[in-house]
Symmetry: C6
Subunit: 198 residues, 6 copies
């Protein structure tokens, strides 16, 4: 059975769109902090490329800490763990990059993620968002999962335009080119309830 | 020959339900502490996904230490070893997550696990319990093993309802959605005999 | 050619029973200490599960140091090396667990192992001994090797009872359920000659 | 769809020429710095030889720091991450060497890369640039991508001379033999906007 | 072409007997020291079991340092490198154990190895020497290589007795059971020329 | 296309002879230093045995530092990187040993390598040079590459004598038995231009 959108109550939990063996699906990127020395742990039965996305997101945030309003010293004081349920399903590919980025920025700022939003897109170190495949299947899965807004790379716009309008009714699309757009669009300025003091 | 339920005398020992090559079975998750610097050792002929469950449980506890009534500094003072007998049987999958979580919380709090209880369910970093497969076979194995109460994900309720009532007679089911429910249901407020001072 | 029982002169050397490609055989678990920082080295052409047994034995001892009459600080001052001759034979499986446990406790206490004793059984972190396979072949090998007493899991008792009485004449069997029984039965209260001061 | 040349706004981003499963293409080498202790992280679904190119570039720069106008102590104060989008495409081979070298020197000096330039060539520790294969396909890809100038090894000159003149119209070629030539030709003396203070 | 015995001028160089793809041969175990922190490096295209022999030899010496007349603190002050030429030939098995033991004791004591001696035998942590295979082929190779004396496990005596007497004419055999015998027989009390001060 | 001899201007760059998939060829061993703590990095698409040669050369130099006129403390102050272009060609085998030795001694002493010299030979820890294969092909490649002098193991002399005299006209051969001969023959007493102060 497919997953449903849950809520935006928890910092670090973001809804992504995936293309798996069974077609399109949503997936959750989860990240948490614990006191530590800056290690990054990645779980969820992930392939090499998807693990690399987590590393890219983390290093991008470290390198652009000041622009993101983060104290650069924070990264040495906490360990980060990124997990992608469900462990029984192998997952790979670069398309969870924007989701991982959003998850980590939400985690370190404790800002709430926008409600009913899902996203898919590759990230880069230079701050660009790249287009990804399987868009049609991902959109249909998003609708089934009660997603209302979808964040995509600008270069995936034509993939959406090729989908029969009926299928995308009720969905709002946000097209981005830069990772800074992702953060502006995906994160609210509100902190989560019981936000951690970092 | 299949295992039988033993007892709840030892902190960190919890009964799980597994689906192996030979059908359903119970298994024990065991964990112990020794003075150290916070390393986590995992043994028991486990596959990658099952090892990841142990990491997820450990990191979730570290990240939610205060809510669980634990001193966050404790984790740097002890090494943890999680083992799943029996070494000759390869084991994998995410379904021992709730069992590992319960094992580690019991270990760090030295609280007694509820008597005659077994459990199965995947865990996440955001605190949700996810449904798992092989429910029917696991339930039959639990009964053979003299288990009285079973903890499951709410989304596995219909799997139970599809089982012929005679087969589940004498079993009490607890359906959970959150990892905090698991801890409340599975652990008593009583310490084990000869509880360690941590 | 098969091995013969040797003696109990050296701390840390214990006779186990193995089931190899060529049938039953005895094997020696050897362990030594050297000044160090607590590393554990395992050699002897061992598979993953057998290496895990060594880790389980070591961690169990660390966690139960006080009950075993050991100073918990000792483990950081020495490196331990466990070896299982003969290097040309690949070995695996959990059945050397009790032998490794006995070897390490003998090593850290410098107590003499009981004379003419061999053993086989899986160990756990909760202190239980589990039954193992190949009992008949192991017993015949023990007899050929001039073993007089054999330590086994209680659940292996019926495997012995199924063996033709003539074959087990002259052998004394000790059935155990707990790892503490193993240590009581297998180790004498006498120190080895030239016992090391730890 | 093939990539297009972007711009030279960001330090550490350099355009390379690659020969992939689908023919010639441009690729971007991206590198960033974050406070750290000198680790080098490499991502982008790269094979062993391409990862080695990154190591060679980094070590060459460390060894020739003074000649490059860099403080040799800087390398212990930052972690470097080199990434090559696009994660879904496996990449390998030594031909991105000059691109990686340029990327890292740009990163550490915060100098702007020359506009509309792409490059391909193997690097060595002794400072020589070596010729690479697939030149014709790479040049056609560069043109499609709106590249204006191309940096190549002198020994690849004849590969260019064998291409029909019409195909290379509008392209300027720079042939180099030494890595110091690469740096002189590829980097401007202008800092990027918002250059970091290292 | 087969190797010939060389000399006993260099500490840490000992002649072993090997059984390779091309039949029996002699081989040299070489070890050297350099200032360091106690790491052990092993080279020579060796398989796992042969590398384990080097570890066993090293750990045995550390554990029995006092009995061997060595200062136990010495091991933390030097790095040891053991090499077995010839790199093009893969080598494996436990039979070089006695040779590695002799090499390392010679290295740490700077004592000369006995002249014209070769050896073969497995070592253990409890100090026993175990028999090995391929004896006939090894002996013929030793003779061709102008070896005069051969050190073997006592349990290999019958392998020698089965060889036609003519073939072993001129060879002296030393049969040992214990690793202490190896050291007594294989090392002279004379230091090598230009012995290092450790 | 095959490589040509270059020059002896740079410390640490030495010309070796290799036998590859495409026949004989010359190759360059390059090594550089950077401030560090003594790590050794090896690149160039090398197999295990060729990497071992680099380790052997490095450890031999460390162990014989004083005899080579080097301060033994120098090795902890620098990181060494050895590279063998060309990354696209897999390389393996022990025959680059003498070349790596010469490269590292040149690097640490900043002495110039002899002009127009190439070499091939396996090295050992006891200081012997061993013969290698593919001599005829290597010599023809050396000639094509405008090499004038060749350093070989004494035991490879007969391989040269079997080559038609015309083919070796104009080449001078140096036969060595010891690694100290290699260093004496291959390195001049002149420092390279712009020699580093170590
Ligand atoms: Ca799903
Ligand atoms: Ca996604
Ligand atoms: Ca079972
Ligand atoms: Ca379970
Ligand atoms: Ca045996
Ligand atoms: Ca055993
Ligand atoms: Ca592309
Ligand atoms: Ca390139
Ligand atoms: Ca040989
Ligand atoms: Ca040998
Ligand atoms: Ca070449
Ligand atoms: Ca060579």
């Amino acid at each position: 059975e497919r997953d449903k959108y849950e809520n935006n109550n928890v910092a670090g939990v973001v809804t992504g769109l995936a293309w798996t063996r069974v077609g399109g699906d949503i997936l959750f990127i989860e990240s948490i902090l614990s006191k530590g020395k800056g290690t990054l742990t990645i779980t969820g039965n992930l392939g090499t490329v998807m693990k690399e996305s987590a590393t890219i997101a983390m290093e991008y945030i470290k390198s652009n800490a000041v622009d993101l309003g983060l104290d650069p010293d924070i990264f040495e004081k906490y360990n980060v763990h990124i997990h992608v349920p469900e462990g029984a399903t192998p997952k790979d590919g670069p398309s969870a990059g924007v989701t991982m980025l959003t998850s980590l920025v939400s985690l370190f700022t404790q800002r709430k993620v926008k409600k009913s939003l899902a996203m898919t897109g590759e990230i880069t170190l230079r701050g660009k968002v790249l287009p990804v495949g399987g868009i049609k299947e991902k959109i249909l899965a998003a609708k089934r999962a009660r997603i209302k807004e979808i964040l995509l790379c600008e270069e995936n716009r034509r993939d959406i335009e090729e989908i029969k309008p009926d299928y995308v009714k009720g969905l709002t699309f946000h097209y981005v080119t830069d990772m800074s757009d992702v953060i502006k669009l995906a994160l609210t300025n509100q902190k989560v309830v019981n936000a951690k003091e970092l």
